[in-house]
């Protein structure tokens, strides 16, 4: 089983790495980080903060785009090109197929993340910002955000078109960063039903703010390792659940 998953993952990896979108997004991300150099003379002593904010935000944003754009069509494309018949005709279980696809994509994402991070540190060197390695923690947490978000994308990919999947995943991304509003609503409302619904949604929707510690690392605030470990676990568990749903949906699908 592991070998078959490995085979699928490797195949997905090879395919994704050849994708022009991937390379374009990585290049754009690094160019965007580089524009921080232009900001330096007009930032009035705040250039260091801006360069770090911009770099870390660009890493997150462009990796999220990669996850959404490539993740969203990963299963659909096989169906569309009818290569899925070839794969499923072999002794590959559908669950293995999904898992292989997902792992291949995650490897691509982690690799992109690493390339962008190297680019980011290169920008720090060029702009002569003192280099600190606690910034890497923000990147690590972004990786966990991507692990979750890619699972969302793969799940959507099993039953909607690539465009639909990209739109839905982006919505989840947006909502995932606003769930604290639901919590506020639950506190503010006097109606028990609304309170219940908003709390229900608050807990069931992915809370992606868990993974955003960029502000903390840029300001050099002491990090909370416990919170980070729990957020990582949150990501892994959520991902597991989503992939399970994806397998179920995909299993019931007729081609």
């Amino acid at each position: 089983m592991l070998q078959r998953i490995y085979g699928m993952a490797l195949n997905t990896f090879r395919e994704a790495i050849r994708d022009r979108i991937l390379i374009a997004l990585i290049v754009i991300a690094i160019v965007v980080m580089g524009t921080a150099k232009l900001v330096q003379p007009v930032a009035m002593g705040e250039a260091e903060k801006i360069i770090k904010d911009l770099g870390l935000s660009a890493i997150t944003l462009f990796c999220v785009l990669i996850a959404i754009l490539i993740g969203g069509r990963i299963v659909y494309r096989e169906v569309e090109k009818r290569t899925i018949y070839l794969i499923l005709a072999r002794p590959v279980r559908r669950g293995e197929f999904i898992l292989g696809k997902y792992i291949g994509l995650i490897v691509v994402l982690i690799l992109s993340l690493m390339v962008m991070t190297v680019g980011f540190y290169a920008v720090l060197l060029i702009t002569r910002v003192p280099i600190t390695f606690n910034l890497l923690w923000a990147v690590v947490m972004t990786a966990f955000e991507l692990i979750l978000l890619t699972a969302v994308a793969v799940l959507f990919s099993t039953f909607v078109t690539p465009v639909g999947s990209a739109v839905f995943t982006f919505m989840i991304y947006f909502i995932g960063h606003s769930t604290h509003l639901l919590k506020h609503l639950a506190v503010m409302t006097p109606l028990p039903l609304i309170k219940f619904i908003s709390l229900f949604l608050y807990f069931i929707l992915p809370n992606l703010n868990n993974f955003n510690i960029r502000g903390d690392v840029v300001y050099g605030v002491p990090l909370n390792p416990q919170a980070m470990v729990f957020s990582a676990l949150y990501s892994l568990l959520y991902t597991f659940t989503l992939l399970l749903i994806a397998v179920i949906v995909f299993d019931r699908k007729d081609f």
Binding site: M44, G45, S57
Partner: protein, 297 residues
């Protein structure tokens, strides 16, 4: 034979032209775009001014924070650059800073830990926009969000001391600042001055120059230099006035010129006018050759 050759040439030339035509059109297209943009820009020279004013229409930074997904700090950075641009433009033109407070409110709501923004916002609000109370409100928000930052109570104390003459609050704020981590030693140095409750030039000068070294912000440093120059100007005026008073007491008349004050020994030297002009006397009053528009501060 000849005929076919001629037609061949004639046919080939248009082909060559036709294949080049699109590229020429593209180049001219870009030239046209450039010219159009130039024209449009001349219509709306204050375009970026409007962007800032549109920012002012946001009910608060909260709305912006909720729509920035997870990029609050990045949005704040963008507003920081906009704020500096807004400040710089008004500094060079009309010196009216109507939206400054609002911009800084949005900015610090998006990124409540942006110490540099509170400091710059407060100083420009207090001295350039002449709204010290708004500056203190901004700083007090900052202090709530960043209870460990010594710069914010330090600046609040400074504004209380210099602009409001509230020496008691100033002393309290400086003592708070002095107890916080990494606080500069100058903060403790200031406390005794406050109990003296005097607004003398030397103290003020010392405080401004201490403040100068506490920031890397070029605009803020310019503001401080303007204040220092203004202090020097006022100091010169006061010196001359005191000399006039002594002169009038003894000589029972007003001096004709500053030089007369020096010649008679009421003034050591003619004080240097910091704006590049010179002081002169008119009807017993001290004036300067520098027009008010060039004095500022």
């Amino acid at each position: 034979m000849e005929l076919t050759e001629i037609t061949h040439k004639e046919i080939r030339r248009p082909e060559w032209v036709i294949s080049l035509l699109p590229m020429v059109v593209v180049v001219w297209g870009f030239v046209g775009i450039y010219l159009l943009q130039l024209t449009i820009d001349s219509f709306s020279r204050r375009a970026s001014e409007r962007v800032v004013q549109e920012l002012a229409y946001f009910p608060s930074g909260l709305a912006l924070r909720e729509s920035s997904i997870e990029y609050d700090e990045l949005f704040a950075d963008f507003i920081w650059l906009t704020a500096i641009d807004y400040y710089g433009r008004h500094l060079e033109t009309d010196r009216r800073y109507e939206w400054l407070g609002h911009i800084f409110e949005i900015l610090t709501t998006l990124d409540p830990r942006f110490i540099g923004a509170y400091r710059f916002g407060a100083m420009t609000l207090a001295w350039d926009a002449k709204k010290p109370m708004e500056a203190l409100t901004l700083l007090s928000f900052g202090m709530k969000a960043n209870p460990l930052s010594w710069q914010l109570p330090f600046d609040a104390g400074f504004i209380n001391y210099m602009l409001l003459g509230d020496y008691k609050s100033a002393a309290e704020l400086f003592q708070i600042a002095a107890k916080l981590p990494d606080a500069w030693r100058i903060v403790t140095r200031w406390v005794p001055y406050l109990y003296a409750k005097s607004g003398d030039f030397e103290t003020a000068k010392q405080m401004w120059s201490d403040l100068y070294y506490s920031t890397q912000n070029r605009r803020l440093r310019e503001l401080i230099l303007r204040q220092l120059r203004w202090l020097k100007f006022e100091e010169g005026v006061r010196k001359i006035k005191e000399a006039i008073d002594r002169f009038a007491d003894k000589e029972r008349r007003l001096p004709v010129s500053i030089e007369e004050l020096v010649q008679r020994g009421y003034l050591e030297t003619v004080p240097e006018e910091p704006y590049g002009g010179r002081y002169y006397l008119k009807g017993g009053e001290v004036h300067t050759t520098t027009p008010p528009s060039k004095r500022g501060g």
